[in-house]
C-alpha cells in the first residue's frame, strides 16, 4: 500500500465498473439498474438534481452500502475490504473527530496501520498541502466551513488512496475555499488518483471533469466525455439542467 501523502507519491491506476446496480431503501427503489464505468486515472463528475441518487451511488461505489442486485467491480473483482482500503471518500457532511486537526489526520493514518513514528512526516505534509499548518493544534470542530472541508479532503488523501470519491465537496463554500479544494483534487489527479466527484456546479464540472455521468431518478440518463455531455447534452434532463431550466419530469 502506498502510505505517502507527498507529491512524490504515485497512485496505482484504479477504475470501477458498476453493472446492473440496484438499491432499495424505505420500500423505494433509489438506484435503478445503473451501469457505470469509472475510467482509471480520470476525473468523473456525477451530476443530477437533488434526490437523483448521487450520494447513494457514491456509497455503493465505495462499498459501504451493498446493492440489492448488480455489482461493483474493481479491477475485475467484487469490491472487498482490501479494495475499499485503496479508496477514500469525502462525505456530503464529513464527520470530523473530536480531536485536533493534526489528530484527525493522524487517526486516518493509524487506521491504515501506519506506525506512529512514520505518521509525523505524512501529517506535516498533508497540513502543508491543505494550508492548515497554522491550525494544526486547533480542535477540528471549531474550524470554519472551508477549513473543515479542506481537512476532510486532506484526511481522505493522507492514506494515499488510488481512487477518491467526493460528494459535493464545495457546496456552500466561497470561491476562495472552493479553489483550495479544487487544487487539492487536481494535485491528487496529477499523482494518478482516480477522481469521482458529485457537483451541482456546471462551472466546476467544466473545470474538473474528463467524463460526466448525469443521473435522474436513480438512473443514468447520460454519460460520456465532459465536452460532449456538458456542451451537447442529449437527454431532456441534462439539457434542462445545464440550460438552467427547472426540470421536473422524472422520465428521462
Amino acid at each position: 500500500m502506498n502510505i505517502q501523502s507527498g507529491a512524490e507519491a504515485v497512485a496505482r491506476r484504479t477504475g470501477l465498473t458498476a453493472r446492473g446496480l440496484c438499491y432499495d431503501a424505505g420500500g423505494k427503489r433509489l438506484i435503478d439498474g445503473m451501469d457505470i464505468s469509472i475510467a482509471a486515472g480520470r476525473r468523473t463528475v456525477v451530476m443530477g438534481a437533488n434526490g437523483a441518487g448521487k450520494s447513494v451511488l457514491l456509497r455503493l461505489l465505495h462499498g459501504i452500502l451493498s446493492p440489492a442486485s448488480g455489482e461493483v467491480l474493481c479491477e475485475g473483482r467484487p469490491l472487498d475490504c482490501a479494495l475499499r482500503a485503496r479508496q477514500a471518500m469525502v462525505f456530503q457532511r464529513p464527520v470530523l473527530l473530536r480531536r485536533s486537526v493534526r489528530g484527525n489526520l493522524a487517526f486516518a493514518l493509524a487506521a491504515k496501520g501506519v506506525p506512529r513514528r512514520d505518521r509525523g512526516h505524512a501529517v506535516a505534509d498533508a497540513l502543508e498541502q491543505a494550508r492548515l499548518t497554522h491550525l494544526a493544534d486547533r480542535p477540528a470542530r471549531v474550524l470554519s466551513g472551508g477549513e473543515q472541508q479542506r481537512l476532510a479532503v486532506a484526511r481522505a488523501l493522507i492514506g494515499g488512496p488510488d481512487l477518491l470519491l467526493l460528494d459535493e465537496p464545495t457546496a456552500s463554500l466561497d470561491p476562495g475555499s472552493t479553489h483550495a479544494i479544487e487544487e487539492l483534487i487536481q494535485n491528487a489527479y496529477q499523482r494518478g488518483v482516480t477522481i469521482v466527484m458529485v457537483t451541482h456546479d456546471a462551472g466546476q464540472a467544466r473545470r474538473i471533469a474528463d467524463d460526466v455521468v448525469f443521473l435522474n431518478s436513480g438512473r443514468v440518463v447520460e454519460a460520456g466525455p465532459a465536452d460532449q455531455v456538458l456542451n451537447a447534452p442529449q437527454s431532456n434532463a441534462a439539457r434542462a439542467w445545464l440550460g438552467g431550466r427547472l426540470y421536473l419530469d422524472s422520465t428521462p
Binding site: 475490504c81 477514500a88 462525505f91 487517526f107 477540528a140 471549531v142
Partner: protein, 235 residues
C-alpha cells in the same frame, strides 16, 4: 435549633482541627471508593463501549440486563458478596471478609453496571454519528472501540462521576461486607450510621459535611472540564 447550631459548630471544629479519627475514616472511604470506581471503569468502559459499538445476537437482552443492574439495591449486593466471601462461600479461602478489599469488591459490583450501561448509551450515539466515516476509513474491532471511548471522553467523565457518587454515598453494601470495624473498615457512611445511633452527632455531622463537600467539589470539577470541552467542541 440551638442544639443543631452547636452540634454543627463542633462538627466544623472537628474538621478544622484535622481530627485524626476523622481523617482516617475519610482516607479509607476515598481509597475504597476510588479503587472501586477505577475497577468499574476498567471493566465497564470497554464492556459498555463494545455493546454500544457492535451488533451481535443477544445484544438487546444484554442491554436490558445492564440497565436493570443499574438499580441494584446496595444491601442485596452486600449480601451476595458476603455469601461469596464468607468462610463457607466459594471465595472464603481468600479471607477477604471484613477487609477494605471486600468493600472494594462490593462497590465494584454495584458500580460496574452503572458505568457499563451509561457508557453503552453514550458510545452507541457517537457510533451512529461516526459509523460511515469509520467504515470508510477502515476502522473496525478494538480500534473502533478505543476511538469511540477517546472521542466520548468528556461524556464518560460524567459517567465515572455518576459511579463515584453512587459508591461514595452507599452504606448498605460496605456495612455488610466490611462490618464497620474501627480502624479497619470504618468509612464515612457506616460511621455516620453508627455514630448517629450512638448519639455522637458531632462526628456524624462532620462526616456528613465532608461527604457533601466531596460531592460538590467533584461535580464542580467535572462540570468545569466539560465546559472547557464544549468550548473546543470536544464534548
Amino acid at each position: 435549633m440551638t442544639g443543631f447550631g452547636s452540634i454543627l459548630a463542633q462538627a466544623l471544629g472537628l474538621i478544622a482541627s484535622g481530627d485524626a479519627a476523622l481523617m482516617e475514616i475519610i482516607g479509607l472511604s476515598l481509597r475504597v471508593t476510588l479503587s472501586a470506581v477505577a475497577l468499574s471503569c476498567l471493566i465497564g468502559l470497554p464492556l459498555g463501549a463494545a455493546v454500544g459499538a457492535f451488533r451481535f445476537p443477544g445484544r438487546t437482552a444484554l442491554c436490558v440486563v445492564l440497565n436493570a443492574l443499574m438499580g441494584l439495591p446496595p444491601v442485596v449486593v452486600g449480601l451476595l458478596v458476603y455469601l461469596m466471601l464468607s468462610a463457607a462461600g466459594p471465595l472464603g479461602p481468600l479471607a477477604l471478609l471484613y477487609t477494605p478489599s471486600a468493600m472494594v469488591i462490593a462497590q465494584t459490583v454495584l458500580v460496574t453496571p452503572i458505568v457499563a450501561a451509561l457508557t453503552r448509551q453514550v458510545v452507541e450515539d457517537l457510533n451512529q454519528e461516526y459509523d460511515e466515516q469509520f467504515k470508510s476509513l477502515g476502522v473496525t474491532g478494538a480500534g473502533r472501540v478505543s476511538a469511540l471511548l477517546w472521542d466520548a471522553r468528556f461524556s464518560l467523565l460524567t459517567v465515572a462521576l455518576a459511579g463515584f457518587g453512587r459508591a461514595v454515598a452507599e452504606v448498605g453494601a460496605v456495612i455488610i461486607v466490611g462490618g464497620n470495624i474501627n480502624h479497619v473498615t470504618r468509612v464515612m457512611t457506616t460511621t455516620i450510621a453508627l455514630e448517629t445511633s450512638k448519639g455522637n452527632l458531632e462526628l456524624a455531622l462532620a462526616l456528613g459535611v465532608v461527604l457533601l463537600g466531596i460531592a460538590v467539589t467533584v461535580n464542580a470539577a467535572v462540570m468545569g472540564l466539560r465546559a472547557s470541552a464544549v468550548r473546543s467542541a470536544y464534548a
